[in-house]
């Protein structure tokens, strides 16, 4: 949705949902409402308020240790917040299968690439006779045909990342959480991953993308939330945040300055 500027302010959400405003605001896919995650008394996510629009690609940006990966883990249901809540507004999102996560560090089973994909399809409940064809499709999507029978864990980092990406797509998820999916990819593979993400988004899959690359955010993201020390310090459309960052943290980060 290019013109309906997605509002990421939680306050705005409450107001707009309450009143029947004529301006069609995009339904949020999910609301993070005061999410706090503590480890040994230290808040790693600190009263995080975030509204993720239900369509398009949302980028999470922020310096190392800002809490981007943790936010994805919370969204994937892998960790429960110490305080606050996560509300999915789409009732079709009801199981872990609907939200796929591609980890920052790819996790692959001690099996061949093919067996990794088959195992995923099995977990996703795809009947056995459909699996072979589907694995073939996925291998083709990731251009992994030549690597299909290699042990997944001896592949290069970039190859592993591609396997993880197509494995996530295997579930046909409604939400795809990508944690720096092209961090160690070469330009063609990056283009491929970005193409996959774009394609999935166009098919109606909601994508939340963690990235450090302003270029990637510019190419892909519809809106951006900027995290710093476990808090959302800024959010808005991609253009707004990238071109005219309002917060000190985001300006410094995008300007290449180190801000501790």
């Amino acid at each position: 949705m290019p013109n309906a500027a997605p509002t990421l302010e939680p306050a705005a959400l409450q107001a707009d949902l309450g009143a029947a405003t004529p301006v069609a605001l995009p339904m949020p896919a999910v609301t993070l409402d005061g999410v706090t995650y503590e480890r040994s008394g230290k808040p790693l996510l600190d009263d995080l308020h975030l509204e993720i629009p239900c369509a398009g690609i949302t980028a999470l940006m922020g310096p190392n240790g800002a809490g981007k990966s943790l936010t994805l883990r919370v969204l994937a249901g892998l960790i429960a917040p110490s305080r606050g809540r996560i509300v999915w507004h789409d009732e079709r999102i009801c199981s872990a299968r609907d939200v796929a996560l591609v980890f920052q560090k790819p996790v692959l089973l001690r099996r061949t690439v093919r067996a990794n994909l088959e195992h995923a399809l099995k977990i996703y409940g795809i009947p056995r006779h459909q699996r072979v064809a589907r694995v073939g499709e996925l291998l083709a999507i990731g251009r992994l045909q030549d690597l299909a029978d290699r042990p997944a864990r001896v592949l290069s980092r970039g190859e592993q990342q591609r396997v993880a990406m197509v494995r996530a797509l295997a579930a046909r998820p409604r939400v795809l959480l990508l944690d720096e999916p092209s961090a160690s990819l070469d330009p063609p593979a990056t283009a491929m991953i970005e193409g996959l993400a774009r394609g999935a988004a166009d098919d109606g899959v909601k994508i939340v993308l963690v990235t450090h690359e302003a270029g990637q955010a510019r190419r892909l993201a519809d809106d951006i939330a900027f995290l710093h020390r476990g808090r959302v310090v800024e959010c808005g459309t991609a253009r707004e945040v990238l071109d005219r960052p309002q917060s000190r943290e985001a300006s410094a980060y995008l300007g290449g300055l180190l801000l501790v």
């Binding site: 994937a76 892998l78 996790v107 001690r110 099996r111 029978d149 042990p151 997944a152």
Partner: protein, 244 residues
């Protein structure tokens, strides 16, 4: 003038080897009996140890319950249990005055199996826990994020750890085969009944029957080499089958 024993000893040494190989080559009945019992006791003990140790180790790796920490430390500590102590405990349990005395199991192969099971179970359980725990740490979030249930997670872990689990069992075989103290105490080293390789070697050596002892010793070393070759072969085959 004192007799020069050097060459004679050398001669004894060579002769002992020659007769040992002759015993092996002719498949000497007594030798085979002892080897057979050794293998039987070891195999049954390792089998029972696996039946207990694999599920116990897997549970300790995955489940979180009060007392888990103690059990983990205990299984690890029991890995290095001195066999004679196990022998002593089983002896006390099975002796006529002991709580299990009525079973009349002392000085039987069953008593030896019990003792060796006690020795091997902590090894299997502890190694299984380590292997499964490491794998669980790697796979847990991934499988959960895919929506896998508990049964699927366990099945995946066991399958992907299968080579390591066989390693654990082979480590148990090694320990049971080489062990002498426990089986000596609870088996009694009775001829034709509870005489196994290690106890025979101890006895025959003290009696000066070096050929017989050496024959058994050679077999024992060969078996140990085979177990280790099995471990190495397993690793190679694991790599061939994309388990890396």
């Amino acid at each position: 003038m004192p007799r020069n024993r050097g060459p004679a000893l050398m001669h004894d040494f060579g002769a002992a080897f020659a007769s040992a190989f002759a015993l092996i080559a002719t498949a000497d009945a007594e030798l085979m009996e002892v080897i057979g019992l050794s293998l039987r006791v070891t195999m049954v003990a390792v089998l029972v140890a696996c039946l207990i140790g694999l599920p116990l180790g897997a549970t300790l790796a995955i489940a979180r319950f009060p007392g888990r920490g103690i059990l983990v430390v205990l299984t690890s500590a029991l890995m290095g249990l001195p066999p004679v102590v196990v022998g002593l405990i089983v002896y006390m349990l099975l002796s006529n005055a002991g709580p299990l005395g009525v079973l009349q199991l002392l000085y039987s192969p069953t008593a030896m199996i019990i003792a060796q099971t006690l020795l091997v179970t902590p090894i299997v359980a502890s190694l299984t826990r380590q292997f499964i725990e490491d794998l669980y740490g790697e796979y847990d979030e991934l499988l959960k994020s895919m929506g896998a249930g508990r049964a699927t997670i366990i099945a995946t872990l066991l399958w992907d750890a299968r080579y390591s689990l066989v390693t654990a069992a082979l480590a148990g075989v090694g320990r049971a085969l080489a062990e002498v103290g426990a089986v000596m105490i609870v088996g009694g080293n009775i001829n034709h009944l509870t005489r196994v390789m290690t106890t025979s070697i101890a006895l025959e050596t003290s009696r000066g029957e070096l050929a017989f002892a050496l024959g058994l010793g050679i077999i024992l070393v060969v078996l140990s080499v085979l177990v280790n070759a099995g471990l190495i072969g397993l690793k190679a085959s694991a790599q061939r089958r994309a388990y890396a």
